[in-house]
């Protein structure tokens, strides 16, 4: 039983690592600032959720001595990052747009630029 749970926790952490990898590749290779922001959202959603759930299972069932305090702290960290990351992304996106950062290639549609003129 413990072996099975260890495999489940490893698979969850591996899924988190895969989406973190996707996010980092996106940050490096996307063509403009706003697209890089979109890619970085991958890191702070499924990357963090995967690590949190995998670590939770590990702390509660797989470790030799179950660590309840550690499990609670892991959940707090995961929720904290999930709740606060959209606020930060929103602040950075709005700030970048107001600071006059635009992609090299014109955007498909730009309703915000049209309405704020």
């Amino acid at each position: 039983m413990s072996m099975l749970l260890k495999i489940v926790s490893d698979v969850l952490i591996a899924v988190g690592a895969f989406f973190a990898l996707v996010g980092v590749i996106g940050i490096l290779r996307m063509p403009d600032t706003f697209c890089r922001m979109q890619a970085s959202t991958c890191v702070s959603t499924l990357g963090v959720v995967g690590v949190t759930l995998g670590g939770l299972i590990h702390a509660l069932f797989v470790a030799e001595t179950p660590m309840a305090g550690a499990a609670v702290k892991i959940v707090v960290i995961g929720l904290l990052i999930l709740v606060t990351s959209p606020v930060g992304a929103h602040a950075i996106a709005k700030g970048a747009y107001k600071a006059g950062i635009r992609p090299d290639k014109p955007m498909e549609t730009d309703d915000l630029g049209r309405d704020s003129e």
């Binding site: 413990s2 260890k6 490893d10 952490i13 591996a14 988190g16 690592a17 973190a20 990898l21 996010g23 980092v24 940050i27 490096l28 600032t33 890089r36 922001m37 970085s40 890191v43 702070s44 990357g47 963090v48 690590v51 949190t52 670590g55 590990h58 702390a59 797989v62 470790a63 030799e64 660590m67 305090g69 550690a70 702290k73 892991i74 707090v76 960290i77 904290l80 990052i81 606060t84 990351s85 606020v87 930060g88 929103h90 602040a91 950075i92 709005k94 700030g95 970048a96 107001k98 600071a99 006059g100 950062i101």
Partner: protein
């Protein structure tokens, strides 16, 4: 039962954070650098969770909580700075022209 898998994943997350720092060095605008720094902060938090489970010491989790809290604060700070900096310059220009 060995915990080698956890330390492998922790090193992987640390390496990903190091790769994200390339954008921090390269990034043409301030927003790019802040996005990369935010992603690196999140990845370091994940690595710290895994390392705490590997070593069995809870102290790393406390540090990860503080890291997550301060990460949002500096992201908000830079976001507000980008927004307000432009506006104040604009206001100054309008006052000069009067």
């Amino acid at each position: 039962m060995s915990n080698t898998d956890l330390i492998i994943f922790a090193v992987l997350f640390g390496a990903l954070a190091a790769v994200a720092l390339i954008r921090l060095v390269k990034g043409p605008t301030g927003a790019d650098r802040m996005v990369a720094a935010d992603a690196a902060d999140t990845l370091i938090c994940c690595a710290m969770i895994l390392f705490a489970l590997y070593s069995g010491r809870g102290i790393y989790l406390d540090i990860a909580i503080i890291g997550a809290m301060l990460g949002i604060v500096d992201t908000m700070l830079v976001g507000r700075f980008l927004e307000k900096g432009r506006r104040e310059k604009h206001v100054d220009a309008a006052e000069d022209s009067q």
